[in-house]
Amino acid sequence: MTLTTKHFGADIPKIGFGTWKLRDETAQMCVAKAIRLATG
């Protein structure tokens, strides 16, 4: 289940994933992991 908050008709996920300072393959791997966890 994705928790969301609604503003102006948009359902925004309440938990996201920040990528500041993540570079190269680490950024790639962590983004894929974060998406799978949030949507899977």
């Binding site: 503003h7 996201g16 920040g18 990528t19 993540l22 790639q28 962590c30 949507t39």
Partner: protein
């Protein structure tokens, strides 16, 4: 939801991670941010086009102005931002590091709604003025540096509450955000275990008293991100 920015110089690899996840585009939320050097009409749209190329996406869900920039008029920047939206480059628009006064100006100047103000927010900073203004304007607040860049791990109150639920101080902090209406949080981690832990917060609920104890940790008001180009921040009464 994935939060990146032109300034992070990682949009290409973020885009590859999005592709690797093999997740349908409609199930994803991707946010990027326009750097302040690109706030003029034409520059903003061209820079967002380049971000989309790096991300390998035909649109993002949300694009934010990364910091306010006094050198370019807000009228010009918000017209450009709305133009990018009307061209389909982003579904929604928002701001980051805006003061209460700037939030009000943004709402007045923008045709499309301002979905969020992304600001530093963790248990040790008092963001009451921004939270109240966002609520009054119908906007959300996105909490950046939500784990105070690691400082939550040593806090005695967060540790004690975590022990009760079998959760870490990071998980207690993420849960504290989840229970605040209209607040979004974007913890960062380079560790798959930590990423999983930060999403594993739906099997417990903080009591009103625990929520209050965590909020009270802001008594010393600690701001971690305050570069030379930052605006004159709002202070709580």
């Amino acid at each position: 939801m994935i939060d990146t920015a032109q300034a992070y110089e990682n949009e290409t690899h973020v885009g590859r991670g999005i592709a690797d996840s093999q997740t349908p585009r409609d199930d994803l939320w991707v946010t990027t941010k326009i750097w302040t050097s690109e706030f003029k009409d034409g520059d903003l749209q061209a820079s967002l086009r380049k971000s989309l190329e790096r991300l390998d996406l035909d649109h993002v869900d949300l694009v934010l102005l990364h910091w306010p920039n006094k050198d370019v008029s807000m009228e010009e920047t918000f017209a450009a931002l709305n133009d990018a939206r009307s061209k389909g480059m982003t579904k929604h628009i928002g701001v980051s590091n805006f003061t209460v006064e700037q939030m009000g100006q943004a709402v007045k100047l923008s045709e499309a709604p301002i979905l969020t103000n992304q600001v530093e927010y963790h248990p040790f900073i008092n963001q009451t003025p921004v939270l109240e203004a966002a609520h009054a304007l119908g906007m959300s607040v996105t909490a950046y540096s939500p784990l105070a860049q690691g400082q939550v791990f040593d806090d005695a109150v967060l540790k004690e509450i975590g022990e009760k639920y079998g959760k870490s101080p990071a998980q207690v902090t993420v849960r504290w955000f989840v229970q605040q209406p209209g607040v979004i949080t974007i913890p960062r981690s380079s560790s798959p275990e930590h990423i999983a832990a930060n999403n594993d917060v739906q099997d417990f609920e903080l009591t009103a008293q625990e929520m209050g104890r965590i909020t009270a940790l802001n008594a010393n008001h600690k701001r971690l991100i305050d570069p030379s180009w930052a605006p004159e921040w709002d202070t709580a009464a």
